[in-house]
């Protein structure tokens, strides 16, 4: 399976759109490409493995605070059916052993992006995973305790927040 961070609320139906319509905000907000690529993480559909994706995302270089996150899981077979090409690239995470889990969807065009949006919309209706700020903090703390993560590799602001345990994020 492949996981991507999304804003779940943007994938919910709106009264001014048809029930099965995909909101433009969902596409422009959650599927914003760079160089025609989109970032995903490889994982199994189990709570523990989903936690590893959340850990990777929560320790990205631009993440400066613990905040509730949502991810959606999609099947690689669905991407194959849509003709989407994947490429393994090192992920932006401070957890070394998670970097290799990162996958880019590459050479995306409008048709493939629309196909991907339909795949995500169908999946989100069935399942999405959310971890709260508190849960993410615990995942990061645990990774530090077991030696998987060196706090000095975190975004400096996030590192400060990690040290200031018990204060609001």
């Amino acid at each position: 399976m492949l996981a991507r961070k999304i804003s779940f609320g943007k994938w919910r139906a709106k009264p001014y759109l048809a029930a099965d319509a995909i909101r433009a905000d969902a596409v422009t907000g959650c599927l914003r490409t760079r160089d025609d690529t989109l970032s995903f993480w490889s994982c199994e559909d189990t709570p523990d493995d989903l936690d590893q994706v959340f850990l990777a995302l929560a320790t990205g270089s631009s993440v400066s605070r613990f905040e509730t996150m949502d991810i959606v899981l999609i099947a690689e077979a669905d991407l194959d059916d849509a003709g989407v090409v994947t490429e393994a690239n090192e992920g932006d995470t401070a957890v070394e052993d998670l970097k290799a889990r990162h996958i880019d969807l590459v050479y995306l065009d409008l048709d493939k992006l629309a196909a991907l949006a339909r795949i995500i919309a169908a999946r989100v209706r069935v399942l999405h995973a959310r971890r709260t700020a508190g849960q993410l903090r615990r995942l990061v703390e645990d990774a530090v305790v077991v030696g998987r993560l060196r706090p000095e590799l975190l975004n400096p602001e996030l590192g400060d927040r990690l040290r200031a345990r018990g204060t609001p994020d």
Partner: protein
């Protein structure tokens, strides 16, 4: 199908003084330019921080006015603004922030209510916990979110 109003009323913006008008326009432009990304700072935060730095009471007033004007017509933008407000230190938002969150929890759009819950989660503490415990959301995913945040905050609140 219901259609939302598509524009913020021009007369609402015209009624503001020039500084408030500039602040609102810059804020809305920043929020509409870039989506809010979980955990990642947003350019609109700098505008809000500067406004609080210049005059915190005035900033709270400007933000309340902006939310009142934006919420009915652009709930997505209102949710983004709430996300930024939720990132302000609770020492700055205090009772005003709780009022903003309380109003947002009554909003018809789940994205706005989600942003309100996120703000309460970010501020933490007993007042936010009490407000969350009193909120029963019509959406199952938000009820589940409130439940987990309540557990998190209960564990962290003495």
């Amino acid at each position: 199908m219901d259609r939302p109003l598509r524009t913020i009323q021009q007369q609402d913006i015209d009624s503001l003084d020039s500084e408030a008008r500039r602040f609102r326009r810059q804020l809305v432009a920043a929020l509409e330019e870039d989506p809010i990304e979980d955990g990642v700072s947003h350019p609109a935060e700098r505008l809000i921080e500067q406004a609080f730095c210049d005059d915190a009471d005035r900033a709270r007033g400007w933000l309340s006015d902006a939310l009142s004007a934006i919420s009915p017509v652009r709930p997505g933008t209102a949710a983004s603004l709430l996300r930024c407000i939720g990132r302000i230190d609770y020492a700055q938002t205090g009772a005003w922030g709780l009022g903003v969150a309380a109003d947002a929890l009554r909003h018809g759009d789940p994205e706005v209510r989600d942003a309100a819950i996120r703000a309460l989660e970010s501020w933490g503490g007993n007042d936010c916990l009490v407000m969350l415990r009193g909120h029963h959301d019509p959406e199952a995913w938000l009820r589940s979110y409130v439940e987990q945040v309540t557990l998190d905050l209960s564990a962290a609140t003495p």
